[in-house]
Homo-oligomer: 295 residues x 2
Amino acid sequence: MNNPVGIISMQFVRPFLSKDLSLFSHIRELGFDFIELLVPEPEDQLNLHEVRQALADSGLGVVLAARVNMQRSIASENAAACQGGIDYLRYCIDSAAQLGATIVGGPLYGEPLVFAGRAPTPADDAQIARRLEATVSALRQVAPQAADGGVALALEPLNRFETDIVCSVAQGIEVVDAVDHPALGLLLDTFHMNMEESSLPGAIRAAGSRIVHFQANENHRGFPGTGHVNWAEVMRALHDVDYRGPVSLEPFRRDDWRVGLPIAHWRAPHEDESEKLRAGLALVKSSLTFAGVAG
Amino acid sequence: MNNPVGIISMQFVRPFLSKDLSLFSHIRELGFDFIELLVPEPEDQLNLHEVRQALADSGLGVVLAARVNMQRSIASENAAACQGGIDYLRYCIDSAAQLGATIVGGPLYGEPLVFAGRAPTPADDAQIARRLEATVSALRQVAPQAADGGVALALEPLNRFETDIVCSVAQGIEVVDAVDHPALGLLLDTFHMNMEESSLPGAIRAAGSRIVHFQANENHRGFPGTGHVNWAEVMRALHDVDYRGPVSLEPFRRDDWRVGLPIAHWRAPHEDESEKLRAGLALVKSSLTFAGVAG
């Protein structure tokens, strides 16, 4: 398998600003094929034309990562939040078209939990049904625009602490099949799958051709190869379903093990991680290569 | 290995009230050796003498699970919350003595995240250091009372979304070694370890004789055997460190896979789970037995 392998921009910096465009050549030199860029917020004041030029200059591809919140939340029962989610997805699709990106991935359904400071609370049957309905309806509204812009939307199941909408691959499949539009597929992330799936390879095989983006993260979000995700099995499953799309890395756990450290919060790198990134990339590329080799 | 295997009271009911004492004989009949009971809250109006009698009548042992919150939080920088945490631990030790329990386990350090509706936020170096100091100081204050009552305190690392104090086994070891009191040990839970450890067996071996309580949970908190935790390896590691303490099950994931379901929130059983509980118990008992068998 010869999938493009990329790295999330947050590995280096957040927010990503105009001054950070010089990172592209560094990322290319590390050996990555693309950058996964957070969809730029207006306040980032990024000139998308400049970004596109810098990508072309460095030879780096790009995938976009959508960021939702309680005001951008198509699964919400609050009409304004739901509309905010729809508007945001349209904005993401526009941004992708401007940047030449063909994939926008993330928890497109909204309704974050821990990162919004929202505790899990019981939901009744009617509320649960309405969440699914609202999600499917909104995705049906934006999918044609994505198709027109040549953009695939990749819906990502998140673990139970990060959302209460789509946590498992089976739930993701249910939403994608209900929307039933070629512009909507799945983004699978092994970090979340490690928490929610009975079998990572089994979930990948079940998702099959719906997978349009993939994130190869360790169970603890450290560098690939430093945890217990079975990369050989994961990549073999991707091979079995003939997955040819991008594979992103997001190993921003950082090497800091102090008691009292908020591990879940993003932290800037405090050391040069180049060697570890190269080793993680090599491991992922090797696993992809061997997935298609009989032995 | 012949460790006692138990089940958390939340598998059946929450809160656990006087009317639920009849569950003890059912739990014993299912084959469990003990119940892990949430430390009764005053509003539960449980008569601890009655509970102790019911335990004796059913032949069931008991382990206590402490529940912290932002007002019971020894790692807190808020003096009242820190004192509230100390008072609560003293209350837990008293409750254990009254019930004849010899172990109180849980995230004794406090500072919950997602279940308190608290989002992870950055902490500076001084704050991180103070959290450790406060935790160690408070545990030193209460450990002698635990020893006097014949109670072991079992500090449980939780995953990064549930706390920002002690997430890894290495962090737990650091706290236990800093407190350096025989009444304080570790509670390891494979659910959290699956998210935070590079190697579950490696972490168990590192914790070694500090382990005083163990929770055998699947990666997705379903019934043991329905996920990807390698029970043979886990139990062999427990055997290697000569662990003879209790092993608790908490498989309250429930068989409900609807989109929009808040998986992280506790839900009451909606079906008779007896067959699955027996199967999970048998699997754990078999793995424990085989851990000590050369083959």
